[in-house]
Amino acid sequence: MSNRVQCVLCPHLCILAPGERGRCSVRLNVDGELVSLVYGRPVAVHVDPVEKKPLFHFLPGIDVLSIATAGCNLRCEFCQNWEISQAAPEDVSPYNLPPEAVVEQAITYNCEAIAYTYTEPVVYFEYTRDTAKLAKEAGLKNILVTAGYINQGPLTELAKYIDAANVDLKSMSDSYYRNICGGTLQPVLNTIITLKELGTWVEVTNLIVPTLNDDSRELDELARWILENTGADTPLHFSRFFPMYRLTDLAPTPVSILQSARERAIEIGLHYVYVGNAVTEEGMITTCPECNEVLIRRQGYIIEENRIENGKCFNCSAPIAGVWNGTEEQ
């Protein structure tokens, strides 16, 4: 027996001999058994507003206990958290925080949800799942902030405990995924569709990187794909790039490109399109798709005004898609 194993968690399908670890750097073959190196060992534990994930249509204003371990199965050259996502577990100093302790911390800090975020929760799958299961039993919500590079079996298992997800759709180009991110496009599209079908509240983020994925036709294609596959009510966040990791030679995304992408996505038919990582008034407000009244006004991550009443527009009573204080309108 060679004791080789194949990890089938993500589309990389790494085949590992004893002593080898996968492309995520956190799953190791020990004598023919695959082990997680980061179970209960987060390197980041913070309380964030839910708007920071970003989720704009999921219980606005709540605090979320946000955790991350080292590791990621992609290698995006623009990664904003590369110090931990691209680190091996032995290169960082983790906390010892088993699932039950995460739930306790969330309750202690009055958080209504736990977010698995910052790096890639897919690679710490078992920790995410076990924590989410305990959190659900304790009446907390679970939020997945992910690049969506996961196979359908584990995704379906995990989705049972996940209430909301923000999926990072980095581009509609497979070559962009391969060359810039070290992954492929189709599994990510599958993840978005599957989460939606399984009843998870889904929002999508696209980081616009100057010269690499800022072509207006590609951005329009992305908006059109969301419209056709998950519907007009799926919120889309266009996010501003800042020079980071291996792309320090590029300038930040011009705000005009973000605004233009937003306007075109709305023309294409999406109801809720936002601009992130940039100060724009219209990119941070939620308006009613029926009567165009302003419903939620945000200043950074702070809710200045929320005029959604029982999941409906205060003015015309049109249902507003999202999860609002326990009332879900999808």
Binding site: Q6, L9, R23, S25, E33, L34, E90, N96, P154, G183
Partner: protein, 85 residues
């Protein structure tokens, strides 16, 4: 890279014939080279992705004992037969 592997494979196949009396001592080397080629071909399936890494198991055991890392049994994997078997 795939072309390089192809030529390496062809080279080994073409030069792999050895006199009968040396066959036994050559087997382990052939097997090692074959394994190396298998590994190379497998890693080339995704040349654009992060590489699979060999770790220093002694160091990993030290890290495990100090609590920095865990050896928590993972889900979603399968045993993989050796292609040489």
């Amino acid at each position: 890279m795939k072309i390089l592997t192809f030529f390496l494979l062809m080279f080994l196949i073409l030069t792999g014939t050895v006199p009968e009396e040396h066959r036994d001592e050559q087997d382990s080397t052939d097997s090692g080279l074959f394994q190396l080629l298998v590994r190379m071909v497998e890693s080339e399936i995704r040349p654009w992705a992060k590489p699979i890494e060999n770790v220093d198991m002694e160091r990993m055991l030290e890290l495990f004992e100090s609590g920095i890392i865990t050896f928590h049994t993972a889900d979603w994997y399968a045993e993989k037969d050796d292609p040489g078997e």
